[in-house]
Symmetry: C2
């Protein structure tokens, strides 16, 4: 090591400092936002004033669920490779501390990428040095398989965390399904999301192993009324009637687990379903506009329900056209997916588009990485998907290739709390 190299190694670079906002200032701002949210009994929803700003990490609920959906995703599922409960708890504590720093635009550990001793590996991998927080949220979940007999958790498995049934037409690939743990990283900069997942994987070396991971872009749902509705890779607006963070009453009923649901440790948490849905975009692109719109039940330009003018015009499934046929066909996607078809089952969706190169058969490997949060998948995702899997004409153009289910515990409080404390110590 040269003299100069040592000098620079000892100089700690603060990611925040580069952008003129001291770490102390950022922490104060974050705490202020949390306090305001707590007073109002609202989920963390502080709108970052720009796409570079941080969202608060601490709160009643984990960030990254109702947080206004950021533009980029890196999702990872881990297998736990240690069989020691204490090591698993220690990992969750280390991850929580790192996430509290990363989401505020700091490096993963206090010695950073260029601090500490030059003969030691840095405690941050460095590729986000100089980048702002970029709205990063990190959300952790526990898979069904974590509740086997390895860690003494079997009796704490919540009833809603029951393996999903096999749906008609499922073509799931086991290697990219399931997982003991997951972390969802959302941010406005993919480099920031990738950096966060990579550093959590680095911290978990020897205790966890990456099972699968997925990058996504172009959020396909709005989770706030302040956001415009984005388009999926079929070119349609998606998630118009999604649960939004402003719907406090609906969120209480349909999103957040409660103590009376049977697993008090999950109170304030939510259940997460992911499905990787490959789209046969080349086939879709040769389908007529009329057929595309009839399959969805909305027009392509505005996203208006067929028979209506504007995107947010209410759906009227009874309305008929001059030909006496319903504007929205009996098997239109918007009708099959609607709460009225499933005992008012609602989901908070925050999926992403993906393109994973090509498939070796001359086609893009593209589609939707579906993400939905809910209070009980047995009453929400499962009946909705069962109806779609049986009847949706979209099935001609899509294929479900991966599936996973996780229990996302409640948020953490500043000072000694950690992801999953209510499970391990509750």
């Amino acid at each position: 090591m040269t003299t100069d190299g040592q000098g620079s190694a000892k100089e700690r670079v603060s990611r925040r400092k580069v952008f003129g906002l001291g770490a102390a200032g950022a922490a104060t701002l974050g705490a202020g936002m949390v306090a305001a949210n707590t007073l109002l009994d609202e989920p963390p929803q502080a709108h970052a004033t720009s796409t570079s700003d941080p969202f608060p990490f601490y709160g009643e609920h984990q960030a990254g669920i109702v947080t206004p959906a950021q533009d980029r995703l890196h999702f990872v599922a881990f297998d736990v490779t240690t069989d020691k409960r204490a090591e698993l708890v220690e990992l969750l504590q280390e991850w929580t501390a790192a996430a509290a720093r990363l989401t505020q635009g700091k490096e993963a550990g206090s010695y950073g990428a260029v601090g500490g001793a030059p003969e030691a590996a840095p405690d941050d991998t460095g590729e986000a040095l100089g980048l702002p927080a970029s709205g990063l949220t990190l959300t952790v979940g526990f898979g069904t398989s974590l509740f086997d007999d390895r860690f003494g958790l079997a009796r704490h498995r919540p009833a809603p965390l029951t393996d999903l049934p096999k749906f008609p037409k499922d073509q799931l690939i086991p290697e990219i399904s399931g997982g003991d743990l997951c972390v969802q990283a959302c941010a406005h900069d993919p480099q920031v999301a990738v950096h966060a997942i990579r550093n959590l994987a680095r911290i978990g070396f020897g205790k966890v192993s990456v099972r699968w991971s997925q990058l996504g872009f172009g959020r396909t749902s709005s989770t706030s009324r302040a956001q415009s509705t984005p388009r999926n890779l079929m070119g349609f607006k998606d998630g118009t009637n999604n649960l939004k963070l402003e719907d406090s009453g609906l969120l209480r009923d349909h999103l957040w687990a409660a103590a009376q649901d049977g697993s008090p440790w999950m109170a304030g948490g939510a259940y997460l379903v992911t499905r990787k849905i490959r789209m046969m975009v080349e086939t879709w692109d040769r389908t007529s506009l009329a057929e595309q719109e009839q399959i969805f039940g909305r027009n392509k330009g505005e996203g208006a329900p067929l028979g209506k003018r504007a995107e947010f015009d209410p759906l009227d499934f009874a309305a008929k056209g001059p030909d006496g046929e319903p504007h929205i066909k009996s098997d239109a996607h918007v009708r099959l997916a609607h709460p009225s078809s499933h005992a008012d089952a609602r989901l908070l969706r925050r999926g992403y588009n993906f393109v994973d190169g090509s498939d070796g058969l001359g086609r893009l490997d593209a589609g939707l990485f579906f993400i939905a949060y809910q209070r009980d998948p047995r009453k929400q995702f499962v009946p909705v998907q069962m109806g779609l899997a049986r009847n949706d004409p979209l099935n001609e153009y899509i294929k479900h290739v991966s599936s996973a289910l996780f229990a996302c515990p409640p948020g953490v409080r500043d000072g000694g709390d950690y992801w999953g404390r209510t499970l391990f110590e509750g």
Copy 2:
């Protein structure tokens, strides 16, 4: 088709209109930029005033080479499946017309995603409706294999378009290497880059087939002095001494093909090498800071040459530390890659980071998608890479898994010109 659906289908949605800038206005602006550039004999370099603005499409050189590197990439290589030269020419004409529209924030065809007859497939796939131009550039290239005997092009193959030699330690996967044609889409929004590639693939249905495609993020090189130097997934600043668009003299000598090089149809074009370089990031992340910095020859925090203070301080390979050893070791990456080690060979690099999920062995499938433009790969990329492949200690942490070489023809002029006209009609 319902009455209302027909009505909305006939209503053409202009992507530009959504953002308040009419197509005519955008066209005028674009033409003005091109004119100014042409007068100054400069490559297209108009700095978009924001990341949503368009770059000019027409010009002496193709955009997307010296254009200030955008943040996102979708790169695709095609196999040509037709054996008819006329169909290939027709495709290049259709692609040129579509690219002229797409890069200005318009839809791929004049009937768009919701225009034309409802019983016809839309002539745009729709997922970029409502999104601005986002700095999209589309750059086309012709692979060595295009110059076989299928299209009568063999005698026009330029000498610099000679298959790359096998480099030591290459672990190339044929299915993601090579290709008859390529299109590089760069933009500030991945949805816009993906949309462009997908629509070109759609237009090419029956004539070309996707061979491989690659998404990238976090540009790893600056191509303009107005840009800060980004970091690769090893956490280091990369491309500090890259050729920049401001270096007019160097670009003339090292980047642009000239008539006297032997293939007049390539005058104003450049040769493109792509290499997918997988990084063993998990191993790298356990390497000490001192070793990381010695391998690169720069410090990690600032990107300064070892022994110097600031990123742009000149490299001094003779300088020694108090211990009598050179600050920059004899096999440091920065020394091996430096023009002084290779008869002044220089490259214009504009690569991207990638994460393609995980590798099934518990690791992220991550690395660098290397992209370099140059006047003659035989004198530039080949000697540089031969030196690196033999001696670079970075090889312990990286693996070259794909390789491709393309001749990118000169830019096109407004009015009847098309990508490759000088080759097919020259």
